[in-house]
Every structure is written in structure tokens, then in C-alpha cells.
């Protein structure tokens, strides 16, 4: 057993933490959130230069990391600083699928991704799929040497900024079947693609993506026809590990701010942290923080394991983080009082990030059911 980061990961963590502490404060973030694009191209480029994106890909793929603990090292720092730039979407999800499934031509994009010069989005969820990965209704029909896509993709994060979309569509079977789902690499400006964008409550932007007789060449398919499900599930597992680490980082910021506030805010002539009612609550949060960290480590450490072991730990982590995250976000706000409700105070954004993470890749309940099903199997 060894719970220390490797030297490389430790260096990456230090560099990233230092950079974000200097460059990414609440005023900066709020300005980025209110901007039209919802992210900063300058920060994106600088972080790419620091190796943040390269750390998310394996050496074979052209990066220098790509393992569970590489993802958690990067995303914990991004979460700690409340970074809203779409690393999860461009690199881990869409970029990861290209790296996992792409042919040589398609994999050539990975270099651009790592260099920070390509933006991507993963267009998978649909209005009635909720958190099920196999409930794909969007259709892909062959038409000579072309494929024609039709469907509605819901809450596609980073769709407006994306140069290309990785779109899932069904070539055979019914919604709910694992078989029959394919992935396609679709340039965002392809005829028939309509992107209706909106801001997200916890920063960043997403869109409804309408596919209306979108014609693409067969060569746009990623991997084998109808066989994309396993790759999608594995990539969503990686994204979930990245996301729980990001949430852990945000929770650390929330508890740090709350601890500091309890020590400095005075009411009734004494620091409010000296009231036992608050001191005990703070202690409970710190206990849950340790649980959260362990759940993230468990999930990251099993990301390269067999499917059932991997997915069981992913679901365990998502379930626990949903519960612990809600407790930390709500109690941090409560112990601060009104100040935490103001957008200019750091905790406001951080708390939103923590809670809204439960709405991506499956919430607490979804993963509880999934954990039960995986344990029974």
C-alpha cells in the first residue's frame, strides 16, 4: 500500500495549484461565467501549455498520463479553484473516445486536443434517457456511402464551442439495448446540425443539439458499427472519476472557507465556531471529507480494472459524493449565513459546482441502484 502521489503527479499538482491560485480567483471566474463563450480561451491555452490536457491521455495516445490517478490529480485542482473550462468534455469524454476508438486519421486529432487547439463535445444524452447510457433513440441510417443522423441530444456541454461533436446514434436495436449504438465524429458546422445554447447554473455552457437529416460519410464512424457501448461506458467511468475528484477539490475549498469563517466571524462577542452547535457540524463535515477522499481513491484505483469491479467502484463513488457533497455544500452555506448566498463570495460558485455534479453521469439514487445491480450480478 502506498497512498503518496508519484513524483510526476506531485509536480503536476504543485504547478497546477500554484497557477490557479495566482490566475483564477472568484472575480476572474465570474467574468468568465458571464462572458458569451462561457470559458476563457487564454486560460485554456495556458493550461494546455502546462500539460493539463496531456496528463489526461496515455503515452500510446500521445500524452503522458491517462490513468485514474492522473485524472484525479488534475481534476481535484480544477475543482479546488472552481475552473469552468471544459476539460472534461473536450479531453476526457469526446477526446478520450477518439483516442480509444479512432482509426489513424481520426486519432490525428488527439495531438490538436493536447495542444489545446481543438474543442469537442460529447453529444450522447437525450431528453428521455435520463442517466441510462444505452437509451439512445437518435438514429443512424445508411444511405450509400453516407450515414444520415436524426435525433435530439440534450444538455450537451460545450456544444457551442466545439469544432466537432462526438455523436451517439442507434444503427439497430431498441432504446435500452447495449448493442446497436455507434459513435460518429461530426463537424459542428455540418448541414442539419442545430445548436441551441444556454448558460449552466454552475458555470460553462451547454446546448440542445438537433440532428435533422445530418449527412456524414461512413468514414466519420468511430470504431465498429453498433459496438460503441462498452467504450462509452468506460469513458463515462473515466469522466465520473474525474468529476468526483473535481467535486472533492471543490468540497475542500468549501470546508476551508467554512473553517476560516467560523474562526473569524464574531456574533454575541465571540467567534461563531466556539458555539458547539456549529463546531460539531464542522467536525461532521471533516469526517465526511475523509470518506469522500477515500471513495475517490477507490474509484481511481480501479479505473483500469475489469468492467464489473470498475463500474462498481464508480457507482460507489458517485453515490457517496452525491450524499457527502450535498451535506458539505448545504452546511457550508448554512454555517456562513447570508454571505454564502452572494455570487461574489467564493463559496457560492463552489457550492453550486458540488451540488450540480450530481446531475451529470448519474445521481446518488441512480448509482445506488446500479451498485445494487452490479453487486447482484
Amino acid at each position: 500500500m502506498n497512498f503518496e502521489l508519484t513524483e510526476e503527479r506531485q509536480m503536476l499538482q504543485d504547478t497546477l495549484r500554484r497557477y490557479l491560485r495566482e490566475k483564477y480567483d472568484t472575480a476572474t471566474r465570474n467574468k468568465i461565467i458571464e462572458s458569451d463563450t462561457g470559458y476563457s480561451a487564454a486560460i485554456w491555452a495556458e493550461l494546455a501549455e502546462l500539460g493539463v490536457i496531456g496528463a489526461l491521455f496515455t503515452e500510446e495516445q500521445g500524452g503522458f498520463g491517462g490513468k485514474g490517478f492522473d485524472l484525479t490529480t488534475v481534476f481535484e485542482e480544477l475543482g479546488r479553484a472552481g475552473v469552468v473550462e471544459p476539460f472534461l468534455d473536450t479531453a476526457v469524454l469526446a477526446g478520450g473516445l477518439i483516442a480509444d476508438l479512432g482509426n489513424d486519421d481520426q486519432q490525428a486529432h488527439v495531438e490538436e486536443i493536447i495542444a489545446g487547439s481543438l474543442q469537442l463535445a460529447f453529444a450522447h444524452g437525450e431528453p428521455t434517457s435520463r442517466y441510462d447510457l444505452n437509451r439512445v433513440q437518435t438514429t443512424a441510417k445508411s444511405d450509400g456511402d453516407d450515414i444520415v443522423l436524426n435525433g435530439h441530444k440534450a444538455v450537451v456541454v460545450n456544444a457551442e464551442a466545439a469544432d466537432m461533436l462526438v455523436v451517439s446514434a442507434r444503427e439497430s436495436g431498441e432504446p435500452g439495448d447495449n448493442d446497436g449504438i455507434s459513435l460518429f465524429l461530426v463537424p459542428a458546422d455540418t448541414k442539419g446540425v442545430t445548436i441551441q445554447g444556454y448558460a449552466l447554473l454552475a458555470g460553462g455552457r451547454a446546448a440542445e443539439v438537433m440532428l435533422d437529416d445530418v449527412k456524414i460519410p461512413v468514414s466519420a464512424r468511430l470504431g465498429a458499427a453498433g459496438k460503441a457501448f462498452d467504450a462509452i461506458e468506460a469513458r463515462v467511468a473515466a469522466a465520473s472519476v474525474a468529476q468526483v475528484a473535481e467535486t472533492l477539490g471543490a468540497m475542500e475549498t468549501a470546508t476551508r472557507l467554512t473553517k476560516d469563517y467560523l474562526g473569524t466571524r464574531k456574533q454575541f462577542g465571540r467567534p461563531i465556531g466556539t458555539f458547539q452547535a456549529l463546531a460539531h457540524r464542522m467536525s461532521d463535515l471533516l469526517i465526511e471529507m475523509e470518506q469522500a477522499r477515500s471513495a475517490v481513491i477507490n474509484a481511481a484505483g480501479h479505473l483500469e480494472s475489469d468492467r464489473s469491479v470498475r463500474e462498481s467502484h464508480v457507482s460507489a463513488a458517485k453515490n457517496l459524493m452525491g450524499r457527502a457533497g450535498r451535506l458539505v455544500a448545504e452546511d457550508s452555506i448554512q454555517m456562513h449565513g447570508g454571505i454564502a448566498m452572494t455570487q461574489e463570495y467564493e463559496l457560492a460558485h463552489i457550492a453550486k459546482r458540488i451540488v450540480m455534479a450530481d446531475h451529470r453521469f448519474g445521481d446518488t439514487d441512480h448509482h445506488l441502484e446500479r451498485f445494487i445491480a452490479l453487486s447482484a450480478a
Binding site: V155, G338, A351
Partner: protein, 397 residues
């Protein structure tokens, strides 16, 4: 023991329903129902409709132009108003300041201010909290120094709800620094147009700007705007707080909220079936519904006692704590139900959207409401303060 309403109470409920069906404008109820933002004009419009009916001030005595309803009638009205998605009555003038003026104000103050409140001539806001005086309100530092026929006011108030609409503010100010904190506070009425007042909006985490900071720099306030006696303001403030706590349980809001969650959960699909059939979600829903049923009866028990003339004491603190926990739990269920569609920042009014279709518009700003309503357990005496009161009253010390 009889859990049914009396014939008179049933007839009253019918009367309220008929009124709401006939007189509540759909534009307003749609905004409430789908989480749209109510503007100043919307609220003034609803107040005017209620005033026309004589129901704007249910808790005022008839001699001041109120409806003088008993506690059960008020409860019935609140329940029906929430069920019909009526806008909430803005309480600052009507149910916070007015009872203080009626009990402690001079005849001149009553004759001047009370009709203006009913007619919507003034929009009042509350100047209580300060950056350094939240839960510990008595430590407030805004000063009022007597200078001839005026007080000169200096300081800063915060969390002033809807202060951006207000032309008048009632304030707690310090008029004596030498005595015990609670004994040096006075209750002043201040015209917001007086030179030296500045209102700055506070942007909240849900994107809304409903609260403000109000700054006072050498603001001249005529002495006739002092309510009651100098340095007795804390007594009046405590009296006001007991009125702020009527409808503190928010049963009507919770019932309307639960109905909305069920509607959402019937439309949202999970695993190819409506979410409402999902056992885990159904269990969460049932749990909060069971709690709400019990609290509703607790509320009625306390209200009945109040109707019989016993002033609610520690019970109002209990209702505040339990009521806010339940409302916040319902907000949590609503955001859960919406799934990925809780993520969009839908703070804008969503008139004209296709209710029932799961898209970012029909889910409404459920997550924004969840975050906004974290305030419920913070304001009006935080739940920690309420628990302190409960402990003190029931266990001494």
C-alpha cells in the same frame, strides 16, 4: 378531537377558491407556477386586487381596514393561495410594519401610513440586519443622533429584500451607545429619497438580485418619524418578529411544491418509465409527504391554540425549523427530478413554454430555486437561533 373543518370554515374556503378562480390573473399565476420572476408591477397589481376585495390585510383589525380573519381563516387562505399559484403578499408594510404602528405608533402615524400601505402608495422595506449584526441583531451599529427636529443617521444595512422597489424603509438604529445593547435601539421610518441614502443590489448565487445593501450618510430624518419611544425599538422589533413568524411553517408553499415535484416526476422518464414509479424516487417523495402531513396538523394545532387566544411561543420556532427543512427537502426533490435538465441556468421567466415536455424550459429553474431557498433556514432568525430559543424556553439556562 375532530379533524374536519366546520361548516363556516368550509364555506370560507369555497369563497376563497371562487375569488382566486375569478380574480387571480393567469399571467401572474403562470409566473408563480413556472418560476418566473415577479416584477414590481405584478406584485402591485395583485395587492390592488386583494385590496379591492378587502383581503389585502387579513391580520389587521377592521378599524384599520383589515379583514380581521382568525388564524384558521388565514391558514385556509394561505393554503388556497399557494394551491392556485397566487403571488405571495409582500409582507414588509402589511404584516411587519403595520402591526407595530397599530400597537405602538401615534394616531398621526396610523392615520397617515396605514391607508397608504393598503393603497400601495408606499413600498416598505426592512432595515434590520447589518454586515456585523446578523444572528446577533442587537449588536447593530447604524446610529441616529438627535439634532434639533431631526435625527442624523449613519451606517449600513444589508439583506434588504426588494429594497430596489422601496420608497420607505423602517430601520432599527442605535440612539444610545452607553447602555445595554438592547436598551439603546430606536425604530425609525425613513424616506428612501432622502439625500445620503444609497441602495446597492447584491447578486445572489441563483443570479437574482432581490436583496440589497442600503448605505446611510448623514441622512436627516424628521423626529416625528420615530415610532413609539426613543430607545424602546428592541421591544417593537421583537413584537414585529412574532408577526413575521405567522405562516412560518409555509405549509401552503410546501403543498404546492410537492404537487409541482409530482408533475415533474410524471413527465420525466427514468429507465423507460415515469420517474414517479422509480422506487427510490417514490420513497423520497413519500417520506417528505408523510412529514408534511404531520407538520400540517402540528401547524393547525398551534393555530387553533392561537385562535383561542394563546400566543404561540416556542411553537413558532419549532414550526420555523421543521417547515424550512421540509420546504428545502422539496426543493431538493424538484432538482433531483429534473435530472440533467436541472443544469441549465433558467432564471428567466419561462412564459409560453410547453409544460410537460422535458426540455430546459419546462423543468423551470428548479435548481435556482433550490439554491435560493437555502435562505429559508438562514433569514428571520436562523434555524440555529431557533433551536437556541427552543432549548432556552424548554430547558431553561
Amino acid at each position: 378531537m375532530d379533524l374536519s373543518y366546520s361548516e363556516e370554515e368550509k364555506a370560507f374556503r369555497e369563497e376563497v377558491r371562487t375569488f382566486l378562480k375569478d380574480k387571480l390573473p393567469k399571467e401572474l399565476s403562470d409566473k408563480v407556477r413556472y418560476g418566473g420572476e415577479l416584477g414590481k408591477a405584478d406584485i402591485e397589481r395583485w395587492h390592488a386586487i386583494l385590496n379591492e376585495q378587502g383581503w389585502l390585510a387579513p391580520n389587521w383589525p377592521k378599524k384599520f381596514g383589515g379583514a380581521e380573519w382568525n388564524a384558521v381563516q388565514r391558514h385556509i387562505f394561505e393554503e388556497e393561495a399557494a394551491a392556485h399559484h397566487a403571488p405571495r403578499i409582500v409582507p414588509f408594510g402589511l404584516s411587519m410594519l403595520a402591526p407595530v404602528l397599530q400597537k405602538f405608533g401615534s394616531k398621526e402615524q396610523q392615520d397617515h401610513w396605514l391607508p397608504r400601505i393598503l393603497n400601495g402608495d408606499d413600498w416598505w422595506c426592512q432595515g434590520y440586519s447589518e454586515p456585523g449584526a446578523g444572528s446577533d441583531l442587537a449588536s447593530l451599529k447604524t446610529t441616529a443622533v438627535r439634532d434639533g427636529d431631526h435625527y442624523i443617521v449613519n451606517g449600513q444595512k444589508t439583506w434588504t429584500t426588494l429594497g430596489q422597489h422601496a420608497n420607505m424603509i423602517f430601520c432599527l438604529v442605535r440612539t444610545d451607545k452607553e447602555v445595554k445593547q438592547q436598551e439603546g435601539i430606536s425604530f425609525l421610518l425613513i424616506d428612501m429619497d432622502t439625500p445620503g441614502i444609497e441602495v446597492r443590489p447584491i447578486v445572489l448565487l441563483d443570479g437574482g438580485a432581490e436583496v440589497n445593501e442600503v448605505w446611510f450618510t448623514d441622512v436627516k430624518v424628521p423626529v416625528e418619524n420615530l415610532v413609539g419611544e426613543e430607545n424602546k425599538g428592541w421591544t417593537y422589533a421583537k413584537y414585529l418578529l412574532t408577526h413575521e413568524r405567522t405562516n412560518i411553517a409555509g405549509v401552503g408553499f410546501s403543498q404546492a411544491g410537492l404537487t409541482a415535484v409530482k408533475r415533474l416526476a410524471r413527465a420525466e422518464m427514468a429507465g423507460g418509465k415515469p420517474l414517479i414509479q422509480n422506487p427510490h424516487f417514490a420513497a423520497r417523495l413519500a417520506q417528505v409527504e408523510i412529514d408534511l402531513q404531520a407538520m400540517s396538523t402540528t401547524n393547525l394545532r398551534i393555530i387553533s391554540k392561537a385562535a383561542a387566544g394563546t400566543a404561540p411561543g416556542v411553537e413558532s420556532s419549532m414550526l420555523k425549523v421543521k417547515g424550512t427543512i421540509i420546504r428545502q427537502e422539496i426543493n431538493d426533490l424538484a432538482r433531483r427530478a429534473a435530472g440533467a435538465y436541472a443544469m441549465p441556468f433558467a432564471s428567466e421567466a419561462i412564459e409560453g413554454s410547453n409544460a410537460g415536455l422535458p426540455d430546459p424550459l419546462s423543468a423551470g429553474p428548479v435548481a435556482a430555486q433550490y439554491f435560493n431557498n437555502r435562505k429559508l433556514s438562514i433569514f428571520g432568525g436562523s434555524n440555529e437561533i431557533q433551536r437556541g430559543i427552543i432549548a432556552k424556553v424548554t430547558m431553561g439556562g
